[in-house]
Protein backbone atom coordinates (compact mmCIF):
# COMPACT_ATOMS: atom_id res chain seq x y z
CA UNK A 1 0.00 0.00 0.00
CA UNK A 2 2.69 2.40 1.01
CA UNK A 3 4.98 1.67 -1.91
CA UNK A 4 2.85 2.71 -4.89
CA UNK A 5 1.85 5.84 -3.09
CA UNK A 6 5.48 6.81 -2.74
CA UNK A 7 6.24 6.24 -6.40
CA UNK A 8 3.25 8.27 -7.41
CA UNK A 9 4.31 11.17 -5.37
CA UNK A 10 7.46 11.94 -7.26
CA UNK A 11 6.00 13.22 -10.55
CA UNK A 12 3.21 14.89 -8.64
CA UNK A 13 5.55 17.04 -6.63
CA UNK A 14 6.77 18.89 -9.70
CA UNK A 15 3.35 20.10 -10.74
CA UNK A 16 2.01 20.71 -7.32
CA UNK A 17 2.93 24.34 -6.56
CA UNK A 18 1.25 25.76 -9.65
CA UNK A 19 -1.72 23.42 -9.54
CA UNK A 20 -2.20 23.95 -5.85
CA UNK A 21 -2.02 27.67 -6.33
CA UNK A 22 -4.55 27.48 -9.16
CA UNK A 23 -6.65 25.27 -6.94
CA UNK A 24 -6.47 27.71 -4.07
CA UNK A 25 -7.77 30.55 -6.20
CA UNK A 26 -10.11 28.52 -8.36
CA UNK A 27 -13.16 30.48 -7.29
CA UNK A 28 -11.36 33.69 -8.08
CA UNK A 29 -10.85 32.48 -11.63
CA UNK A 30 -14.46 31.36 -11.89
CA UNK A 31 -15.70 34.69 -10.59
CA UNK A 32 -13.46 36.53 -12.97
CA UNK A 33 -14.71 34.73 -16.09
CA UNK A 34 -17.67 37.05 -16.83
CA UNK A 35 -15.56 40.10 -16.02
CA UNK A 36 -12.72 39.06 -18.30
CA UNK A 37 -15.24 38.16 -21.03
CA UNK A 38 -16.66 41.66 -20.80
CA UNK A 39 -13.26 43.32 -21.14
CA UNK A 40 -12.11 40.99 -23.90
CA UNK A 41 -15.28 41.37 -25.94
CA UNK A 42 -16.15 45.00 -25.47
CA UNK A 43 -12.73 46.55 -25.10
CA UNK A 44 -9.98 44.38 -26.53
CA UNK A 45 -11.99 42.91 -29.42
CA UNK A 46 -12.99 46.48 -30.32
CA UNK A 47 -9.29 47.10 -30.96
CA UNK A 48 -9.44 44.56 -33.78
CA UNK A 49 -12.02 46.70 -35.56
CA UNK A 50 -9.66 49.65 -35.28
CA UNK A 51 -7.71 48.17 -38.24
CA UNK A 52 -10.28 49.73 -40.55
CA UNK A 53 -8.53 53.01 -39.78
CA UNK A 54 -5.77 51.70 -42.06
CA UNK A 55 -8.16 50.46 -44.74
CA UNK A 56 -10.56 51.75 -47.32
CA UNK A 57 -13.30 49.85 -45.55
CA UNK A 58 -16.37 48.85 -47.51
CA UNK A 59 -19.15 47.21 -45.48
CA UNK A 60 -19.97 44.95 -48.43
CA UNK A 61 -16.48 43.49 -48.51
CA UNK A 62 -15.91 43.30 -44.77
CA UNK A 63 -12.61 43.80 -43.01
CA UNK A 64 -10.91 40.84 -44.68
CA UNK A 65 -11.81 42.01 -48.18
CA UNK A 66 -11.23 45.74 -47.84
CA UNK A 67 -8.19 47.40 -49.31
CA UNK A 68 -5.24 48.30 -47.07
CA UNK A 69 -4.30 51.95 -47.50
CA UNK A 70 -1.73 52.49 -44.75
CA UNK A 71 -1.84 55.95 -43.23
CA UNK A 72 -3.93 57.53 -46.00
CA UNK A 73 -6.89 58.26 -43.73
CA UNK A 74 -4.67 59.92 -41.15
CA UNK A 75 -2.94 61.98 -43.83
CA UNK A 76 -6.30 62.97 -45.27
CA UNK A 77 -7.47 64.17 -41.85
CA UNK A 78 -4.32 66.00 -40.82
CA UNK A 79 -3.91 67.59 -44.23
CA UNK A 80 -7.59 68.50 -44.46
CA UNK A 81 -9.18 71.84 -43.72
CA UNK A 82 -11.04 70.66 -40.62
CA UNK A 83 -8.16 69.10 -38.66
CA UNK A 84 -6.94 72.35 -37.19
CA UNK A 85 -10.46 73.57 -36.45
CA UNK A 86 -11.55 70.51 -34.49
CA UNK A 87 -8.21 70.08 -32.66
CA UNK A 88 -8.17 73.76 -31.74
CA UNK A 89 -11.76 73.69 -30.47
CA UNK A 90 -11.11 70.54 -28.46
CA UNK A 91 -8.01 71.99 -26.84
CA UNK A 92 -9.59 75.39 -26.17
CA UNK A 93 -12.67 73.93 -24.49
CA UNK A 94 -10.41 71.79 -22.30
CA UNK A 95 -8.16 74.74 -21.48
CA UNK A 96 -11.15 76.84 -20.45
CA UNK A 97 -12.46 73.97 -18.38
CA UNK A 98 -9.15 73.61 -16.57
CA UNK A 99 -8.76 77.36 -16.11
CA UNK A 100 -12.30 77.94 -14.86
CA UNK A 101 -14.19 74.76 -13.95
CA UNK A 102 -11.28 72.93 -12.36
CA UNK A 103 -10.21 75.87 -10.22
CA UNK A 104 -13.80 76.83 -9.38
CA UNK A 105 -14.29 73.58 -7.48
CA UNK A 106 -11.09 74.07 -5.48
CA UNK A 107 -12.01 77.63 -4.52
CA UNK A 108 -15.58 76.62 -3.73
CA UNK A 109 -14.36 73.75 -1.54
CA UNK A 110 -12.07 76.10 0.41
CA UNK A 111 -15.02 78.44 0.91
CA UNK A 112 -17.45 75.74 2.04
CA UNK A 113 -14.82 74.42 4.43
CA UNK A 114 -14.78 77.80 6.17
CA UNK A 115 -18.46 77.54 7.08
CA UNK A 116 -19.04 76.97 10.77
CA UNK A 117 -22.72 76.09 10.61
CA UNK A 118 -22.82 72.37 9.79
CA UNK A 119 -26.50 72.16 9.00
CA UNK A 120 -26.35 74.98 6.52
CA UNK A 121 -23.22 73.38 5.09
CA UNK A 122 -25.14 70.15 4.48
CA UNK A 123 -27.93 72.02 2.74
CA UNK A 124 -25.42 73.79 0.50
CA UNK A 125 -23.73 70.51 -0.37
CA UNK A 126 -27.01 68.75 -1.14
CA UNK A 127 -28.15 71.59 -3.39
CA UNK A 128 -24.88 72.08 -5.26
CA UNK A 129 -24.27 68.35 -5.92
CA UNK A 130 -27.70 67.95 -7.46
CA UNK A 131 -27.12 69.42 -10.96
CA UNK A 132 -24.51 66.70 -11.52
CA UNK A 133 -27.34 64.16 -11.72
CA UNK A 134 -29.44 66.00 -14.27
CA UNK A 135 -29.19 64.45 -17.72
CA UNK A 136 -27.25 66.15 -20.49
CA UNK A 137 -30.41 66.11 -22.60
CA UNK A 138 -32.31 68.13 -20.00
CA UNK A 139 -29.39 70.49 -19.38
CA UNK A 140 -29.09 71.17 -23.11
CA UNK A 141 -32.85 71.57 -23.45
CA UNK A 142 -32.81 74.16 -20.67
CA UNK A 143 -29.80 75.92 -22.18
CA UNK A 144 -31.60 76.13 -25.52
CA UNK A 145 -34.55 77.77 -23.75
CA UNK A 146 -32.52 80.14 -21.59
CA UNK A 147 -30.12 81.15 -24.37
CA UNK A 148 -32.77 82.27 -26.84
CA UNK A 149 -32.73 85.96 -27.63
CA UNK A 150 -35.88 86.43 -25.55
CA UNK A 151 -34.74 83.90 -22.94
CA UNK A 152 -33.80 84.32 -19.31
CA UNK A 153 -30.07 84.87 -19.76
CA UNK A 154 -30.74 87.60 -22.30
CA UNK A 155 -33.23 89.19 -19.91
CA UNK A 156 -30.40 89.48 -17.42
CA UNK A 157 -27.97 90.74 -20.07
CA UNK A 158 -30.51 93.34 -21.21
CA UNK A 159 -30.90 94.50 -17.61
CA UNK A 160 -27.14 95.04 -17.52
CA UNK A 161 -27.47 97.14 -20.65
CA UNK A 162 -26.04 94.57 -23.05
CA UNK A 163 -27.45 93.69 -26.43
CA UNK A 164 -29.77 90.72 -26.82
CA UNK A 165 -28.42 87.93 -28.97
CA UNK A 166 -29.29 84.32 -29.56
CA UNK A 167 -26.37 82.86 -27.63
CA UNK A 168 -26.34 79.38 -29.11
CA UNK A 169 -26.65 80.61 -32.69
CA UNK A 170 -23.61 82.83 -32.33
CA UNK A 171 -20.22 81.11 -32.68
CA UNK A 172 -18.64 83.74 -30.44
CA UNK A 173 -20.46 82.52 -27.37
CA UNK A 174 -20.55 78.77 -27.88
CA UNK A 175 -17.52 77.90 -25.76
CA UNK A 176 -18.57 80.29 -23.02
CA UNK A 177 -22.01 78.71 -22.82
CA UNK A 178 -20.49 75.22 -22.97
CA UNK A 179 -17.97 75.78 -20.17
CA UNK A 180 -20.25 77.93 -18.00
CA UNK A 181 -22.99 75.30 -18.05
CA UNK A 182 -20.36 72.71 -17.22
CA UNK A 183 -19.35 74.73 -14.18
CA UNK A 184 -22.99 75.04 -13.18
CA UNK A 185 -23.43 71.30 -13.42
CA UNK A 186 -20.24 70.18 -11.70
CA UNK A 187 -18.81 72.86 -9.43
CA UNK A 188 -20.43 71.38 -6.34
CA UNK A 189 -19.74 67.79 -7.29
CA UNK A 190 -16.07 68.62 -7.83
CA UNK A 191 -15.71 69.87 -4.24
CA UNK A 192 -16.37 66.47 -2.62
CA UNK A 193 -12.86 65.15 -2.93
CA UNK A 194 -11.30 68.40 -1.70
CA UNK A 195 -13.71 68.78 1.22
CA UNK A 196 -13.00 65.23 2.35
CA UNK A 197 -9.27 65.97 2.24
CA UNK A 198 -9.73 69.22 4.17
CA UNK A 199 -11.55 67.51 7.03
CA UNK A 200 -8.41 65.42 7.48
CA UNK A 201 -6.17 68.45 8.05
CA UNK A 202 -4.60 68.37 11.50
CA UNK A 203 -6.32 71.13 13.58
CA UNK A 204 -3.10 71.79 15.48
CA UNK A 205 -1.63 73.23 12.29
CA UNK A 206 -4.37 75.85 12.28
CA UNK A 207 -3.88 76.57 15.96
CA UNK A 208 -0.15 76.99 15.52
CA UNK A 209 -0.69 79.30 12.55
CA UNK A 210 -3.28 81.32 14.50
CA UNK A 211 -0.86 81.74 17.41
CA UNK A 212 1.74 82.99 14.98
CA UNK A 213 -0.76 85.67 14.03
CA UNK A 214 -1.95 84.29 10.71
CA UNK A 215 -5.36 85.57 9.63
CA UNK A 216 -8.08 83.48 7.97
CA UNK A 217 -6.86 84.05 4.43
CA UNK A 218 -3.27 83.38 5.40
CA UNK A 219 -4.23 80.12 7.08
CA UNK A 220 -6.15 79.03 3.97
CA UNK A 221 -3.14 79.89 1.85
CA UNK A 222 -0.47 78.36 4.09
CA UNK A 223 -2.30 75.42 5.68
CA UNK A 224 -5.35 74.34 3.67
CA UNK A 225 -4.00 74.82 0.18
CA UNK A 226 -0.74 72.88 0.82
CA UNK A 227 -2.82 70.10 2.38
CA UNK A 228 -4.86 69.90 -0.83
CA UNK A 229 -1.86 70.01 -3.13
CA UNK A 230 -1.29 66.24 -3.60
CA UNK A 231 -4.97 65.73 -4.42
CA UNK A 232 -5.01 68.72 -6.76
CA UNK A 233 -1.97 67.39 -8.61
CA UNK A 234 -3.46 63.93 -9.12
CA UNK A 235 -6.76 65.46 -10.24
CA UNK A 236 -4.92 67.79 -12.57
CA UNK A 237 -2.95 64.94 -14.18
CA UNK A 238 -6.19 63.10 -14.80
CA UNK A 239 -7.78 66.26 -16.17
CA UNK A 240 -4.83 67.00 -18.43
CA UNK A 241 -5.00 63.35 -19.48
CA UNK A 242 -8.36 64.19 -21.06
CA UNK A 243 -6.97 67.25 -22.82
CA UNK A 244 -7.89 65.89 -26.26
CA UNK A 245 -11.32 64.64 -25.22
CA UNK A 246 -14.58 66.53 -25.21
CA UNK A 247 -17.64 64.33 -24.98
CA UNK A 248 -19.60 64.61 -28.20
CA UNK A 249 -22.98 64.10 -26.55
CA UNK A 250 -23.25 67.63 -25.19
CA UNK A 251 -21.68 69.16 -28.30
CA UNK A 252 -24.01 67.50 -30.79
CA UNK A 253 -27.02 68.57 -28.73
CA UNK A 254 -25.93 72.20 -28.65
CA UNK A 255 -24.16 72.94 -31.90
CA UNK A 256 -25.50 73.72 -35.35
CA UNK A 257 -23.81 74.33 -38.71
CA UNK A 258 -23.84 78.04 -37.78
CA UNK A 259 -21.55 77.40 -34.82
CA UNK A 260 -19.30 74.62 -36.19
CA UNK A 261 -16.45 77.09 -36.42
CA UNK A 262 -16.06 77.21 -32.63
CA UNK A 263 -18.15 74.23 -31.54
CA UNK A 264 -17.07 71.29 -33.65
CA UNK A 265 -14.66 69.13 -31.64
CA UNK A 266 -12.81 65.96 -32.62
CA UNK A 267 -15.42 63.60 -31.19
CA UNK A 268 -18.37 65.36 -32.81
CA UNK A 269 -16.49 65.42 -36.10
CA UNK A 270 -15.83 61.67 -35.81
CA UNK A 271 -19.50 61.12 -35.07
CA UNK A 272 -20.65 63.19 -38.02
CA UNK A 273 -18.20 61.89 -40.60
CA UNK A 274 -17.96 58.33 -39.30
CA UNK A 275 -21.48 57.45 -38.27
CA UNK A 276 -23.83 59.97 -39.86
CA UNK A 277 -22.04 60.00 -43.22
CA UNK A 278 -20.89 56.39 -42.76
CA UNK A 279 -17.31 57.10 -43.69
CA UNK A 280 -16.19 54.40 -41.25
CA UNK A 281 -12.52 54.22 -42.07
CA UNK A 282 -12.01 57.95 -41.93
CA UNK A 283 -13.93 58.25 -38.65
CA UNK A 284 -12.00 55.37 -37.12
CA UNK A 285 -8.71 56.95 -38.15
CA UNK A 286 -9.58 60.31 -36.58
CA UNK A 287 -10.79 58.55 -33.44
CA UNK A 288 -7.65 56.44 -33.20
CA UNK A 289 -5.45 59.48 -33.73
CA UNK A 290 -7.35 61.18 -30.91
CA UNK A 291 -6.95 58.23 -28.52
CA UNK A 292 -3.25 57.82 -29.18
CA UNK A 293 -2.44 61.51 -28.79
CA UNK A 294 -4.50 61.57 -25.62
CA UNK A 295 -2.66 58.59 -24.16
CA UNK A 296 0.69 60.23 -24.95
CA UNK A 297 -0.43 63.42 -23.18
CA UNK A 298 -1.57 61.48 -20.12
CA UNK A 299 1.65 59.48 -19.85
CA UNK A 300 3.74 62.63 -20.29
CA UNK A 301 1.73 64.58 -17.71
CA UNK A 302 2.14 61.73 -15.28
CA UNK A 303 5.90 61.45 -15.85
CA UNK A 304 6.32 65.21 -15.60
CA UNK A 305 4.40 65.34 -12.35
CA UNK A 306 6.30 62.43 -10.84
CA UNK A 307 9.57 64.17 -11.53
CA UNK A 308 8.53 67.65 -10.48
CA UNK A 309 6.07 67.13 -7.63
CA UNK A 310 6.56 63.50 -6.65
CA UNK A 311 2.84 62.83 -7.17
CA UNK A 312 1.65 60.54 -9.92
CA UNK A 313 -1.19 58.26 -10.94
CA UNK A 314 0.98 55.17 -11.16
Amino acid sequence: MAEPARTLRAPHRQARPLLRRMQRYKYIYLMLIPVVLYYVIFHYAGMYYAVIAFQDYKPMRGIAGSRFVGLDNFVEFLGGVYAWRVIRNTLLINLYQIAFAFTASIVFALMIHQMADNRYKNVIQTVTYMPHFISIVVVCGLLAEFCESDGLINDVLAMLGLERTSLLANPRYFRTVFVASDIWQNVGWGTIIYLATLTGVDPSLHEAAAIDGAGRLQRIWHVNLPALMPVIVVQLIMRVGRMMLVGFDKVILLYSPATYETADVISSYVYRRGLSEMDYSYGAAVGLFNSVVNLVILVSANAFSRRVTGNSLW
Partner: protein, 290 residues
Protein backbone atom coordinates in the same frame (compact mmCIF):
# COMPACT_ATOMS: atom_id res chain seq x y z
CA UNK B 1 -7.04 95.61 19.15
CA UNK B 2 -9.59 92.81 19.12
CA UNK B 3 -12.19 95.07 17.59
CA UNK B 4 -9.83 96.03 14.82
CA UNK B 5 -9.13 92.41 13.88
CA UNK B 6 -12.70 91.31 14.36
CA UNK B 7 -14.36 93.53 11.83
CA UNK B 8 -12.49 92.39 8.73
CA UNK B 9 -12.75 88.75 9.84
CA UNK B 10 -16.49 89.04 10.30
CA UNK B 11 -17.08 90.76 7.02
CA UNK B 12 -14.99 88.04 5.39
CA UNK B 13 -17.27 85.40 6.92
CA UNK B 14 -20.33 87.28 5.75
CA UNK B 15 -18.94 87.61 2.25
CA UNK B 16 -18.12 83.91 2.22
CA UNK B 17 -21.67 82.97 3.22
CA UNK B 18 -23.12 85.38 0.69
CA UNK B 19 -21.15 83.96 -2.25
CA UNK B 20 -21.82 80.35 -1.27
CA UNK B 21 -25.53 81.06 -0.92
CA UNK B 22 -25.55 82.76 -4.30
CA UNK B 23 -23.90 79.72 -5.94
CA UNK B 24 -26.41 77.39 -4.29
CA UNK B 25 -29.30 79.56 -5.47
CA UNK B 26 -27.91 79.49 -9.00
CA UNK B 27 -27.78 75.70 -8.83
CA UNK B 28 -31.31 75.55 -7.53
CA UNK B 29 -32.91 78.25 -9.64
CA UNK B 30 -33.31 76.40 -12.96
CA UNK B 31 -35.15 73.61 -11.13
CA UNK B 32 -37.55 76.08 -9.52
CA UNK B 33 -38.03 77.83 -12.85
CA UNK B 34 -38.87 74.56 -14.59
CA UNK B 35 -41.22 73.43 -11.86
CA UNK B 36 -43.03 76.77 -11.79
CA UNK B 37 -43.23 76.97 -15.58
CA UNK B 38 -44.60 73.43 -15.88
CA UNK B 39 -47.71 74.36 -13.88
CA UNK B 40 -48.22 77.68 -15.65
CA UNK B 41 -50.85 78.81 -18.09
CA UNK B 42 -49.41 78.31 -21.62
CA UNK B 43 -50.26 81.76 -22.96
CA UNK B 44 -49.07 83.63 -19.89
CA UNK B 45 -45.89 81.55 -19.82
CA UNK B 46 -44.95 82.64 -23.35
CA UNK B 47 -45.51 86.29 -22.46
CA UNK B 48 -43.62 86.00 -19.20
CA UNK B 49 -40.28 87.77 -18.97
CA UNK B 50 -37.47 87.22 -16.50
CA UNK B 51 -37.32 85.04 -13.45
CA UNK B 52 -40.12 82.67 -12.54
CA UNK B 53 -40.47 81.52 -8.96
CA UNK B 54 -44.15 80.65 -8.91
CA UNK B 55 -46.48 79.46 -11.71
CA UNK B 56 -47.90 82.31 -13.75
CA UNK B 57 -51.55 81.36 -14.05
CA UNK B 58 -52.25 77.72 -13.39
CA UNK B 59 -52.88 74.79 -15.68
CA UNK B 60 -52.09 71.12 -15.90
CA UNK B 61 -52.26 71.07 -19.68
CA UNK B 62 -48.54 70.49 -20.01
CA UNK B 63 -48.76 67.35 -17.92
CA UNK B 64 -51.90 66.24 -19.73
CA UNK B 65 -50.09 66.51 -23.05
CA UNK B 66 -47.09 64.64 -21.68
CA UNK B 67 -49.09 61.76 -20.25
CA UNK B 68 -51.28 61.55 -23.34
CA UNK B 69 -48.18 61.12 -25.45
CA UNK B 70 -47.81 57.36 -25.92
CA UNK B 71 -44.06 57.76 -26.52
CA UNK B 72 -43.51 59.02 -22.99
CA UNK B 73 -45.03 55.89 -21.53
CA UNK B 74 -43.04 53.67 -23.92
CA UNK B 75 -39.90 55.60 -23.01
CA UNK B 76 -40.59 55.30 -19.30
CA UNK B 77 -41.11 51.55 -19.61
CA UNK B 78 -37.94 51.08 -21.65
CA UNK B 79 -35.88 53.26 -19.35
CA UNK B 80 -37.14 51.31 -16.36
CA UNK B 81 -36.01 48.12 -18.08
CA UNK B 82 -32.56 49.53 -18.90
CA UNK B 83 -32.13 50.86 -15.37
CA UNK B 84 -33.20 47.66 -13.63
CA UNK B 85 -31.53 45.10 -15.89
CA UNK B 86 -28.52 47.29 -16.63
CA UNK B 87 -27.83 48.15 -13.02
CA UNK B 88 -28.26 44.52 -11.94
CA UNK B 89 -25.66 43.42 -14.52
CA UNK B 90 -23.39 46.30 -13.47
CA UNK B 91 -23.49 45.50 -9.80
CA UNK B 92 -22.98 41.75 -10.18
CA UNK B 93 -20.06 42.06 -12.59
CA UNK B 94 -18.45 44.95 -10.75
CA UNK B 95 -18.61 43.12 -7.40
CA UNK B 96 -17.16 39.94 -8.88
CA UNK B 97 -14.32 41.85 -10.49
CA UNK B 98 -13.68 44.00 -7.44
CA UNK B 99 -13.54 40.95 -5.19
CA UNK B 100 -10.94 39.25 -7.37
CA UNK B 101 -8.86 42.40 -7.64
CA UNK B 102 -9.00 42.95 -3.89
CA UNK B 103 -8.01 39.36 -3.10
CA UNK B 104 -4.72 39.38 -1.20
CA UNK B 105 -2.10 36.89 -2.21
CA UNK B 106 -3.58 36.21 -5.62
CA UNK B 107 -0.53 36.35 -7.90
CA UNK B 108 -2.23 37.62 -11.08
CA UNK B 109 -3.91 40.57 -9.43
CA UNK B 110 -1.60 43.27 -10.76
CA UNK B 111 -1.81 41.96 -14.32
CA UNK B 112 -5.60 42.13 -14.35
CA UNK B 113 -5.66 45.56 -12.72
CA UNK B 114 -3.46 46.77 -15.55
CA UNK B 115 -5.55 45.11 -18.27
CA UNK B 116 -8.74 46.66 -16.92
CA UNK B 117 -7.40 50.12 -16.10
CA UNK B 118 -5.70 50.41 -19.49
CA UNK B 119 -9.13 50.46 -21.16
CA UNK B 120 -9.97 53.53 -19.10
CA UNK B 121 -7.08 55.51 -20.57
CA UNK B 122 -7.14 54.12 -24.07
CA UNK B 123 -10.47 54.03 -25.81
CA UNK B 124 -10.62 52.71 -29.38
CA UNK B 125 -13.29 55.22 -30.30
CA UNK B 126 -16.93 55.08 -31.28
CA UNK B 127 -16.54 53.72 -34.81
CA UNK B 128 -14.79 50.43 -33.89
CA UNK B 129 -17.16 50.04 -30.93
CA UNK B 130 -20.12 50.59 -33.21
CA UNK B 131 -18.81 47.97 -35.65
CA UNK B 132 -18.20 45.58 -32.80
CA UNK B 133 -21.77 45.90 -31.56
CA UNK B 134 -22.95 45.48 -35.13
CA UNK B 135 -20.69 42.43 -35.56
CA UNK B 136 -22.14 40.88 -32.43
CA UNK B 137 -25.60 41.20 -33.97
CA UNK B 138 -26.73 43.49 -31.16
CA UNK B 139 -27.75 46.48 -33.29
CA UNK B 140 -31.31 47.45 -32.58
CA UNK B 141 -31.63 45.16 -29.55
CA UNK B 142 -31.88 46.00 -25.87
CA UNK B 143 -28.53 44.27 -25.27
CA UNK B 144 -26.71 47.04 -27.12
CA UNK B 145 -27.83 49.44 -24.40
CA UNK B 146 -26.83 47.41 -21.33
CA UNK B 147 -23.94 45.10 -22.29
CA UNK B 148 -21.29 47.46 -23.74
CA UNK B 149 -21.44 49.45 -20.48
CA UNK B 150 -21.62 46.40 -18.20
CA UNK B 151 -18.64 47.57 -16.14
CA UNK B 152 -17.48 51.09 -15.50
CA UNK B 153 -13.78 50.67 -14.76
CA UNK B 154 -13.74 53.67 -12.47
CA UNK B 155 -16.50 52.15 -10.35
CA UNK B 156 -14.67 48.82 -10.40
CA UNK B 157 -11.59 50.47 -8.91
CA UNK B 158 -13.70 52.30 -6.33
CA UNK B 159 -15.32 49.05 -5.23
CA UNK B 160 -12.00 47.23 -5.18
CA UNK B 161 -10.54 49.88 -2.88
CA UNK B 162 -13.54 49.56 -0.62
CA UNK B 163 -13.25 45.74 -0.54
CA UNK B 164 -9.52 45.96 0.16
CA UNK B 165 -10.39 47.84 3.34
CA UNK B 166 -12.34 44.90 4.79
CA UNK B 167 -10.32 43.45 7.71
CA UNK B 168 -8.37 40.28 6.89
CA UNK B 169 -9.63 38.44 9.96
CA UNK B 170 -13.22 38.49 8.73
CA UNK B 171 -12.22 36.80 5.52
CA UNK B 172 -9.90 34.27 7.13
CA UNK B 173 -12.35 33.13 9.77
CA UNK B 174 -14.93 32.64 7.03
CA UNK B 175 -12.42 30.52 5.11
CA UNK B 176 -11.78 28.39 8.16
CA UNK B 177 -15.52 27.89 8.49
CA UNK B 178 -15.45 26.53 4.94
CA UNK B 179 -17.15 29.42 3.17
CA UNK B 180 -16.43 29.77 -0.55
CA UNK B 181 -15.25 33.01 -2.13
CA UNK B 182 -18.66 33.68 -3.62
CA UNK B 183 -20.24 33.33 -0.22
CA UNK B 184 -17.66 35.54 1.42
CA UNK B 185 -18.38 38.18 -1.21
CA UNK B 186 -22.14 38.07 -0.73
CA UNK B 187 -22.30 37.63 3.02
CA UNK B 188 -19.30 39.60 4.25
CA UNK B 189 -17.99 42.08 1.68
CA UNK B 190 -21.29 43.38 0.35
CA UNK B 191 -22.86 44.02 3.79
CA UNK B 192 -19.65 45.50 5.23
CA UNK B 193 -19.28 47.84 2.25
CA UNK B 194 -22.94 48.75 1.96
CA UNK B 195 -22.24 52.50 1.78
CA UNK B 196 -20.06 51.97 -1.28
CA UNK B 197 -22.62 49.59 -2.74
CA UNK B 198 -25.32 52.24 -2.33
CA UNK B 199 -23.23 54.84 -4.13
CA UNK B 200 -22.38 52.39 -6.92
CA UNK B 201 -26.06 51.55 -7.32
CA UNK B 202 -26.91 55.22 -7.60
CA UNK B 203 -24.08 56.01 -10.03
CA UNK B 204 -24.95 53.11 -12.31
CA UNK B 205 -28.69 53.70 -12.13
CA UNK B 206 -28.32 57.41 -12.92
CA UNK B 207 -25.98 56.58 -15.78
CA UNK B 208 -28.66 54.34 -17.30
CA UNK B 209 -31.46 56.76 -16.54
CA UNK B 210 -29.67 59.65 -18.25
CA UNK B 211 -28.14 57.71 -21.13
CA UNK B 212 -29.30 58.60 -24.61
CA UNK B 213 -26.56 58.58 -27.23
CA UNK B 214 -25.99 54.82 -27.14
CA UNK B 215 -29.67 54.55 -28.05
CA UNK B 216 -29.25 57.09 -30.80
CA UNK B 217 -26.33 55.13 -32.26
CA UNK B 218 -27.48 51.55 -31.75
CA UNK B 219 -31.27 51.71 -31.98
CA UNK B 220 -33.47 52.46 -34.96
CA UNK B 221 -36.69 51.01 -33.58
CA UNK B 222 -38.36 53.81 -31.62
CA UNK B 223 -40.25 51.17 -29.65
CA UNK B 224 -36.96 50.44 -27.85
CA UNK B 225 -36.08 54.08 -27.18
CA UNK B 226 -35.49 55.16 -23.60
CA UNK B 227 -37.23 58.19 -22.14
CA UNK B 228 -34.27 60.54 -22.75
CA UNK B 229 -34.60 60.07 -26.53
CA UNK B 230 -38.20 61.24 -26.47
CA UNK B 231 -37.29 64.05 -24.09
CA UNK B 232 -34.61 65.10 -26.53
CA UNK B 233 -37.11 65.14 -29.40
CA UNK B 234 -39.51 67.29 -27.41
CA UNK B 235 -36.88 69.68 -26.06
CA UNK B 236 -34.51 70.09 -28.96
CA UNK B 237 -36.20 68.95 -32.16
CA UNK B 238 -39.60 70.52 -31.86
CA UNK B 239 -39.95 70.95 -35.61
CA UNK B 240 -39.06 74.65 -35.32
CA UNK B 241 -42.64 75.83 -34.71
CA UNK B 242 -44.32 74.60 -37.89
CA UNK B 243 -46.22 77.17 -39.87
CA UNK B 244 -49.37 75.05 -40.11
CA UNK B 245 -49.84 75.06 -36.37
CA UNK B 246 -51.95 77.68 -34.69
CA UNK B 247 -50.61 79.87 -31.92
CA UNK B 248 -52.17 77.78 -29.18
CA UNK B 249 -50.31 74.68 -30.27
CA UNK B 250 -47.04 76.60 -30.15
CA UNK B 251 -47.81 77.87 -26.65
CA UNK B 252 -48.67 74.40 -25.52
CA UNK B 253 -45.40 73.09 -26.92
CA UNK B 254 -43.43 75.43 -24.69
CA UNK B 255 -45.39 74.33 -21.66
CA UNK B 256 -44.94 70.68 -22.56
CA UNK B 257 -41.18 71.09 -22.56
CA UNK B 258 -41.20 72.07 -18.93
CA UNK B 259 -43.61 69.35 -17.94
CA UNK B 260 -41.53 66.67 -19.63
CA UNK B 261 -38.38 67.86 -17.87
CA UNK B 262 -40.12 67.54 -14.52
CA UNK B 263 -41.46 64.11 -15.39
CA UNK B 264 -38.02 62.93 -16.46
CA UNK B 265 -36.01 64.15 -13.46
CA UNK B 266 -38.40 63.53 -10.58
CA UNK B 267 -37.39 59.87 -10.04
CA UNK B 268 -33.75 60.85 -9.60
CA UNK B 269 -34.54 63.70 -7.25
CA UNK B 270 -36.62 61.33 -5.13
CA UNK B 271 -33.80 58.81 -4.67
CA UNK B 272 -30.97 61.33 -4.49
CA UNK B 273 -31.32 62.65 -0.88
CA UNK B 274 -31.22 59.12 0.56
CA UNK B 275 -27.92 58.27 -1.07
CA UNK B 276 -26.33 61.70 -0.93
CA UNK B 277 -24.70 61.19 2.49
CA UNK B 278 -22.62 58.32 1.10
CA UNK B 279 -21.09 60.30 -1.76
CA UNK B 280 -17.94 61.29 0.06
CA UNK B 281 -17.07 57.66 0.56
CA UNK B 282 -17.73 56.75 -3.05
CA UNK B 283 -15.74 59.60 -4.54
CA UNK B 284 -12.82 59.37 -2.10
CA UNK B 285 -12.21 55.68 -2.63
CA UNK B 286 -11.78 56.28 -6.33
CA UNK B 287 -9.04 58.80 -5.72
CA UNK B 288 -6.74 56.32 -4.02
CA UNK B 289 -4.19 55.50 -6.63
CA UNK B 290 -3.46 51.85 -7.29
Amino acid sequence: MIEKRDLPQRSLTALNYAIITLVALLCLYPCIHVLAASFSDPVRLIRHRGALLWPTGYSLRGYQTVFNNPNILIGYGNTLFYVLVGTAINIVLTSLGAYALARRGWPLRKLFVFLFVFTMYFNVGIIPTFMLVKGLGMLNTRWAIVLPVAINTWNLIVMRTSFAGVPDELQESAYLDGASDLRILCQIYVPVCKATMAVMLLFYAVEHWNSWFTSMIYLTDTGLYPLQMFVRDILLFDGAAGTTEDANAIYLKELTKYAVIVVSIVPILVVYPFVQKFFVKGVMLGSVKG
